[in-house]
Point group: C2
Chain length 261, copies 2
């Protein structure tokens, strides 16, 4: 699979079970999305959680109960088959991973597609700002912070952040570029002070991999979509389906259009 | 009442029944909001309508069922008393206007505060861009367009726009300034071509007043919060409470912070 395939072609290949790996680098011009599927009885409260915490949980599209096609962001797609790897959760505990969730999806389920930092990583790289996790072929470093999100109904979570070390003289460029993508976590929430977020050791992320921080670089922290996963699990819903980390839903929305809304 | 009073003081005066007029020009540094109150059974679908149509319906805050205090945007305020004039609707028809809706508010009701163009009008004026409706002491001109909003459940509406005539050499400045306020309708949706929106006669707005368009000026169209009112009425809910046009809820949120989110 190459970066030149269309999102539609890639999704079709995923739906046929021919790609079950992470989606990093696939169709890099297009926005990828976090996926959360919940029963309608949680839909208002979870949507409200996302609205109240739009930096970690920027809403790309919400499908009404039972709807499987994201008409706005990926016409013709199917949220039950087009993610390479799903996770199925019961009462907040991981039950299984699956490449197709058609069997667990019912007419009451509401699907949420939330923006992802892949969108701004492409833009950073394109503007000469190095992205260490890409350079080192690692998953981005993620940390649970001491900041609480605004809760909504049964949904609450600490803010989770990603960290990317940025050369000192490129920090403002990184801030300005990512600020454009409010539907992909937007501007950093903190620059240079892990302790202010309650992060004790950058080498020990809570999720993902540690990356090298070089002399002359500043750790920069962005809100992270994993926040939404923690919020979902906090509510312990009977059933919840998400993408597996890094195995995102690929939309037809050009990253650059997200910067122009 | 002067422009120097704090939002809190103005709200208190309104709650005491001492101000029942439109709120234009009050506490001009602070964001004012459209108010929509609906029963919880409509809450997910209406919130989804707002998310899907964020230009006409930018969400400032949503209160959970029965909650009357906007903790995020106006701590200490009460949505039942702090708007100068309310409208009470039954099954989509206007039943009464009131200065206090404590008697109709119950524990199932969800309140939505949506951004308002007063926010960017202050910024336009401050940057030397004339705002004709303010100059002429009129209500802004509003038009129902030929564009349909994305519907959600029982909520649907045509896009309603406001029009402000802008001197040709200031149009780009007006676009750039208003683009900063995505929570107050953001960038214009159309510049210079009323016909493209299905508007036949600028002198006959569907709501508000006509204003003078001078030689050398371009009509510029922004999404309008009245869209949300039409959407609410389309669903014909048993009960709905809104602000009366121009009689907004005044928040503690500085306009400029909305430009920095």
């Amino acid at each position: 699979m190459t970066g030149m395939e269309s999102p539609r072609d890639i999704r079709a290949r995923i739906a046929r079970g021919q790609w079950t790996k992470p989606t990093t680098g696939l169709a890099p011009a297009y926005a990828q999305a976090n996926l959360v599927i919940l029963d309608r009885k949680y839909a208002f409260d979870f949507l409200l959680f996302c609205v109240r915490n739009s930096k970690p949980c920027p809403i790309l599209e919400v499908l009404e109960p039972g709807v499987t096609e994201p008409h706005a962001t990926a016409p013709g797609a199917d949220v039950r088959t087009d993610v390479p790897l799903y996770r199925v959760w019961r009462k907040g505990r991981l039950e299984q991973e699956a490449t197709d969730i058609t069997g667990c999806f019912d007419a009451g389920m509401v699907s949420f597609l939330l923006g992802c930092s892949f969108t701004f990583e492409a833009s950073l790289t394109g503007a000469g700002v190095p992205v260490r996790n890409i350079e080192e072929g690692k998953n981005v470093s993620m940390y649970v912070t001491n900041r609480k999100c605004a809760s909504a109904g049964p949904f609450s979570a600490p803010l989770v952040v990603t960290m990317r070390p940025i050369p000192n003289d490129l920090v403002m460029r990184a801030v300005r570029i990512t600020s454009r993508y409010s539907l992909a976590h937007g501007a950093p929430i903190q620059v240079g002070d892990p302790g202010a977020l309650g992060i004790r050791d950058l080498d020990r992320p809570d999720f993902g991999d540690p990356v090298t921080v070089k002399d002359g670089e500043t750790p920069v922290f962005w809100a992270c979509g994993v926040t939404s996963s923690l919020a979902v699990l906090s509510a312990e819903p009977e059933l919840c389906i998400t993408h597996a980390p890094g195995h995102m839903f690929i939309t037809d929305v050009l990253n650059e259009t997200l910067a122009a809304l």
